[in-house]
Amino acid sequence: MIELVGVKKRFGEQIVLDGVDFVVKEGETVALLGPSGTGKSVLLKHIIGLIHPDAGRIMVDGLDVNKLTRRELTALRTRIGYVFQNGALFDSMDVFENIRLGLTDESLYNDKAYCRERVLTCLRQVNLQPSVAEKYPAELSGGMRKRVGIARAIAGQPKYLLYDEPTSGLDPVNADIIDDLVKQLDNELGVTSVMVTHDVRGAFRVADRLALLSDGRIVLAGTQKEFLASDNEKVRAFLERDFENRPIPA
């Protein structure tokens, strides 16, 4: 379980998180919604200890992320897969090496046969051809880079998957493909996922629960029905903007 309690963070004068309380239960997929620049990615980075809060607690599997030693934090990170917004693939390495780096167990990382098998499995799971393994990130399209980023995140067989805007910058068709992939992986791997997005439609397709972050706080966390039924001004404004010209998915 992931639990954030009263998390506060400011960068200089700008208050980004102002007492965030947020819970993700085992096995569920939660979409963290919010307009651009509201601190969704910052919140996600707190969970994996890439950013430290000014106040509040972040608990993952009962461990307080900010009180962990370096070694404990490294061990925790091996249980979490993080999918970066633009893939964050290593330019100087081919796709095979990028995904191999996701193998967090050093003995497995040095086992060449296992690495090859695991990399090909991960590529298959994200619907990419084995031949992609030999390509460099610069040779991939935006959608393929996102999928390789997901393949790297699942290579170490994590318990949690954190997606940072997995569909941003993609056309609607590719965005749907990534959304389906997220859903498929959640079902196949049984992981607990948090997906940061500002794409409400995608979030409705993928997530079990939703949470809206605005002005540094979680305005509403609940099911799709609760969101649609909410008369909170910020929730309504956010939903209406996205569903303006499109039908709300069933």
């Binding site: 994996i48 890439l50 370096r70 990170r77 993080y82 633009n86 964050a88 780096l101 967090t104 790297r152």
Partner: protein, 260 residues
């Protein structure tokens, strides 16, 4: 009152920024020390980095040291007076190149070439979240990125300086014969008569410190890059300027400490 406070604020801010840099730099060095036991990770990457900066810089080192040797010889020829024994020109060329020109000139050139490369590489990795990605995978950026570059800097700058010294002396030897009535025997006699083995060590010691400074400062600048492409440009410029200035400071300090 405001006019009085403004300079004070500026000084205060500069002091705070300086201390913040010092703190972050110390943290980076601490991370490097912590990463040293992970030699399986940094050792192969050190070979790659050493090859990249060593072989990659060879051509520019050869060209610059060659011209430096030639110019030193031509100027020695211009300043030489017939009242002095001609072999003194050999002494002058070798000492000038080995003690000062070789290491400093090559250091300054490499602070541009290696410094800009390291800062731009790491800066780009920072702003494209590649460094965050490494950390998220439970891997140490120090072992993967910084240690190999710093060790390569410490190793390769002295090697390139030795190459530069040899080429500059060789070209200087050939060049001085074009402008003065000097024989090979005159040159070798002059080169050897005041030669002390320490002069060679001094050249390499200087280059070792220059290499370390260039690599550490550039890695630090790149690693702490902020704000996209503009930030990468800023940290690349800062890396070259800071490593060049530091190199000149180290040069003066080493001359004071080791030559007196």
């Amino acid at each position: 009152m405001n006019l009085l406070l403004r300079p004070l604020r500026l000084v205060g801010r500069l002091i705070l920024e300086g201390l913040a840099h010092l703190g972050r730099f110390s943290m980076m060095v601490l991370e490097m020390v912590r990463g040293l036991p992970e030699w399986r990770i940094w050792l192969p990457r050190t070979f790659t980095e050493s090859y990249n900066i060593g072989v990659g810089s060879l051509l520019i080192v050869v060209v610059i040291s060659g011209f430096a040797g030639a110019v030193t010889a031509f100027q020695a020829g211009y300043q030489w007076q017939s009242s002095l024994p001609i072999y003194v020109v050999g002494t002058l060329i070798v000492s000038t190149i080995v003690l000062e020109l070789g290491p400093v000139l090559i250091g300054l050139v490499l602070s541009g070439r290696i410094g800009a490369r390291y800062a731009a590489e790491l800066g780009t990795m920072r702003v494209t979240e590649q460094i965050d990605a490494l950390e998220s995978l439970g891997r140490s950026p120090a072992s993967h990125l910084i240690i190999p570059r710093v060790i390569a800097g410490f190793l390769m700058v002295p090697i390139l300086t030795i190459v530069a010294d040899l080429i500059a002396v060789g070209v200087g030897w050939w060049s001085v014969k074009q402008v003065l009535p000097m024989t090979d025997a005159d040159f070798t006699y002059g080169a050897q008569i005041y030669w002390r083995p320490f002069d060679g060590y001094y050249s390499v010691i200087k280059a070792f410190f220059f290499g370390g400074a260039i690599a550490l400062i550039s890695c630090y600048m790149g690693f702490n890059t902020k704000q996209g492409a503009e930030g990468v440009g800023r940290s690349t410029t800062a890396a070259v300027v800071a490593s060049s200035v530091t190199l000149l400071i180290i040069n003066a300090l080493l001359a004071r400490i080791l030559l007196n």
